[in-house]
Subunit: 338 residues, 2 copies
């Protein structure tokens, strides 16, 4: 079998690797596709070298087929189509209050441990979810980021008729907008990149380029002056942190999806005045994964548009190099079946 | 009758005023006591001259007795002991989504319109709440700030067994701590002022002076490493904004009680990482007032300790001058019955 390895210094290699049987409690998955996540790009840029163990196989946005089953594993058969929820919470303790998905000692599979960018992958069965038999395996590789969006929208409490604004229309922002729209809410996406704006408009979204149009005015008009009920802060920059409190109406809920490397200036007076809530939202819980699987399986979301390129495993280096040069792209997949 | 007037430039006068009959929908209240709120002190310092109409009678933390009843008013009798919920939401509209207590065009009675620091006060009956007949009228003047605390604690969702930290043990922080303790939660108060620390310890609170003791360590020990479930940010300074995210455990709820005049640096990454919520909380809703009236009426809270001084209406100038010179004081009342 072939496996890719992050070697540090923006370099990936692809090597022969000996295939092993799954250990007790594990399954072996023949990987179909593995998407490249923003965090994988961070790894490529060397920003997470303290967390990965070079050389390491990375990747967690995958789809695949059960290929072998380890001792003690129930509920799976060889040939089952599956995805992995890449959260290893085996070190969870009581002080995590049952929130295993954000447990203090959580390990993220594919970052803190071996990932899916290889032909076969041995992984503990407890975090494997079954897919419907007729699922499209390319789209199934988007289950993980769709689950992020499901979690974000669930945390927001968004309901039909409300006005939601997604600040940042990259891959996660677009998926959040798609899932938010399913609630029956009116969804506005704020995005600067012309290519992304075009794609989002093609998906039927109300898109504002805040460099050219007054977002606050637009939100106010759409909401009859009530402003936004929900804001998803996905862009992760100071400008969107400024905007999030400006466009939030009374009792508005702001969901913090982005990772801010530095502290941000926040208008806490506005949070007080309008009784806003800022709600942090990280990864997903099992129910979000099941929700995402249903959305992918039943083709409820227009996910095809999201996939901008597919590279064979042998060209993983090229895939990462291209992403680094192209800020407009959405989701790039690695085909691990080669 | 006598009425006091804020005249600008840290100056109050007390003058004779003609008593008038209550208009339609109003009652006339013989004011018993009126507490001096932090916002009243802001008025004294000239910080709110754009909002008040000089000369103006201010004051909203009052207790009193119904003295006359205007046309069309039901449910009150002369002699009823009452408090006023000083929120005039008559300009509320649909875009306020039913949250009349924070409506965009809300007027705060005693700031945006005539207040209670006078012998008799004509006020619309719709915001008057009845007190039990045997209530202590001095303590009843604390109903308004107690209602703030009830609202803050309700917004937090604090329940028995949780760990709550109140950042700032001034008048509002102390009342929040008292109401929080009633839930059965473990309550820690963080306060720097030695006199306030002494008073809070006298009330049986677990008080940390963060200049002398490691608050994070103390919270961690008390919670078996889970950190705080709820934080009330009452101090309103950058240091407490830094602390609030440090001491919050997984899914912790931070209630923003303080008014921050400037934007603050907030650790949004920690909000994301631990899925924290920051919840703005402003004034109170009618149910918070009813809760506060019950707590005051049934003497459930040790409110006597809060009253550090009582001045007759004729000495209102002295009362404000003393507060400005004494940052350790808690609640100062004006006796309007003189």
């Amino acid at each position: 079998m072939k496996a890719s390895y992050y070697e540090g210094n923006k370099t990936f290699t692809v090597k022969e690797k000996e295939m092993t049987l799954p250990a007790e409690g594990e399954v072996r998955i023949r990987v179909a596709y593995c998407g490249i996540c923003g965090s994988d790009v961070h790894i490529y840029h060397g920003n997470m070298d303290a967390r990965v163990s070079i050389p390491q196989t990375i990747g967690h946005e995958m789809s695949g087929t059960i290929d072998a089953i380890g001792e003690g594993v129930k509920g799976f058969e060889v040939g089952d189509k599956v995805v992995v929820r890449p959260l290893d919470a085996r070190l969870e303790d009581a002080s995590d209050k049952g929130f295993s998905h954000i447990a203090k000692k959580l390990k993220f599979v594919g970052i803190d441990s071996e990932g899916a960018m290889q032909q076969y992958w041995n992984i503990m069965a407890s975090i494997v979810h079954r897919l419907p038999d007729d699922v499209d395996m390319k789209l199934a590789a988007l289950t993980e980021p769709v689950a992020v969006a499901c979690h974000d929208v669930r945390r927001s409490g968004l309901v039909e008729g409300e006005v939601a604004v997604v600040l940042g229309g990259g891959p996660i922002g677009t998926l959040v907008a798609m899932v938010a729209r399913l609630t029956g809410a009116k969804v506005i996406v704020s995005e600067l990149n012309p290519k992304r704006i075009k794609m989002l408009r093609g998906l039927g979204f109300d898109v504002v380029n805040p460099a050219e149009q007054d977002l606050l005015k637009h939100v106010s008009e759409l909401s009859n002056g009530a402003l936004a009920d929900v804001i998803f802060e996905v862009a992760g920059v100071q400008a969107s942190v400024n905007t999030m409190t400006e466009i939030a109406g009374i009792r508005g809920r702001i969901v913090g999806v982005a990772i801010h490397a530095v502290k941000r200036e926040v208008d806490l007076k506005m949070c007080f005045w309008r009784e806003l809530s800022f709600i942090g939202a990280r990864v997903y819980e099992p129910q979000d994964y099941e929700h995402a699987i249903r959305l992918v399986g039943e083709k409820i979301l227009p996910l095809e548009t999201m996939v901008t390129a597919v590279y064979p495993l042998s060209e993983i280096q090229k895939a990462f190099d291209q992403i680094a040069q192209n800020p407009s792209g959405m989701k790039v997949l690695i085909n691990c079946q080669g």
